[in-house]
């Protein structure tokens, strides 16, 4: 059984208006109707000030700021309206080095284009049902990059400080 997602609001950032139509059709099929669009990262950042989306879906390949520049602004910008907002990155670049770069920038989920309807639902549901904690280190701020627990790990716990708020 799926969970109802109709209460969610989503900001879609993509410089290709055709993709707006695609993402809108898929989100609407999940009954997510509260969707807004920006065709560049700067406008999206402004939009976040006026409106507070629950989730952001952004393309990677955009100009002048690309999707990862936008993620950096959201996660680390001193004037970010919401550094914790979940971000799903859409990309046609699925090479491992690119995936690692995206992960290390602070995206919650990465989704390959062409978009799979099931995959988009699964990622949104994961964000809602099983959100990962956030981690702040000297060089990183974003969702925890550990996807699993290594039960055989014998070393010291490197994350001594855990805060719930």
């Amino acid at each position: 059984m799926t969970i109802s997602l109709d209460a969610l609001s989503v900001l879609v950032v993509d410089d290709n208006k055709h993709m707006h139509s695609v993402v809108k059709a898929i989100l609407n099929s999940m009954r997510i109707k509260n969707v807004r669009f920006s065709d560049n990262a700067a406008d999206a950042f402004m939009e976040m000030r006026q409106w507070h989306p629950d989730i952001i879906i952004t393309d990677w390949a955009m100009q002048p700021l690309d999707g990862l520049d936008f993620v950096r602004l959201v996660r680390k910008g001193a004037d970010s309206p919401n550094p914790y907002v979940p971000i799903i990155l859409l990309t046609g670049h699925t090479e491992m080095c690119r995936v690692i770069e995206a992960r290390d920038t602070g995206v919650n989920e990465i989704l390959a284009k062409p978009i799979s309807i099931k995959s988009l639902y699964t990622r949104i549901a994961a964000i809602v049902q099983s959100p990962r904690p956030f981690v702040k280190t000297k060089n990183y701020f974003g969702p925890c990059r550990r996807r699993g627990t290594n039960l055989n790990y014998k070393g010291p716990e490197r994350r001594a400080n855990e805060i719930t708020f």
């Binding site: 059984m1 799926t2 969970i3 109802s4 997602l5 109709d6 209460a7 969610l8 290709n16 055709h18 993709m19 139509s21 695609v22 059709a25 898929i26 609407n28 099929s29 999940m30 009954r31 629950d54 989730i55 390949a61 914790y84 979940p86 859409l90 046609g92 290390d104 284009k113 062409p114 978009i115 309807i117 099931k118 639902y121 964000i127 809602v128 049902q129 959100p131 904690p133 956030f134 981690v135 702040k136 280190t137 000297k138 060089n139 990183y140 925890c144 990059r145 490197r158 994350r159 001594a160 400080n161 855990e162 805060i163 719930t164 708020f165």
Partner: protein
């Protein structure tokens, strides 16, 4: 993740989204997929108009490169081919995704080589136009497979036999 050391802090923000959506059940995933596919099918006619505009723009860009080699124009062709890759399958044209990926890879691998083989870029665009005009939705269509193989071989030859050229197409699937 080498920076996950003693200075790291872990925060667990309250799960406001879970509270917001509540416990109301949603539609079955199969229903979501069927509804989305129906909506995307309705957009297919629009897509065919958009993609024809894109192909026209691609042809114009290649024509301008024949007048003058311009890295910015070549980059634009690369980006457009990447966009086509990202959309074709969504609208029921998996071959456009494959050839879009192939064209992107051909240019991305070596832009100087690509700039010297504009006829091969044209051939990719011609193939996309054929897929659209013949409405070839089956990625295993024998005629299309033959053309794809020809494009692969030509790209490989242009890049001096680099085997990565041949593998690029298949990974788009």
């Amino acid at each position: 993740m080498s920076d996950d050391n003693d200075s790291s802090r872990v925060f667990t923000p309250p799960n406001l989204l879970r509270a917001k959506v509540g416990n109301k059940p949603g539609p079955d995933l199969d229903q979501i997929v069927a509804k989305a596919e129906a909506a995307l099918t309705e957009l297919q006619d629009d897509y065919e108009v958009w993609i024809r505009d894109d192909l026209k723009a691609l042809r114009e860009a290649v024509a301008s490169l024949r007048q003058e080699v311009n890295p910015t124009v070549l980059e634009r062709i690369k980006i457009m081919s990447h966009e086509i890759k990202g959309q074709g399958s969504t609208y029921g044209y998996p071959l456009l995704t494959i050839v879009g990926h192939f064209l992107y890879g051909f240019i991305d691998r070596d832009e100087d080589v690509a700039a010297r083989h504009l006829a091969l870029i044209d051939a990719h665009v011609d193939f996309m136009a054929l897929v659209l005009s013949q409405k070839i939705r089956d990625e295993d269509d024998p005629q299309a497979q033959g053309i794809l193989s020809g494009l692969q071989d030509a790209a490989k030859k242009a890049h001096g036999g680099d085997p990565r050229a041949a593998s690029a197409t298949r990974s788009a699937k």
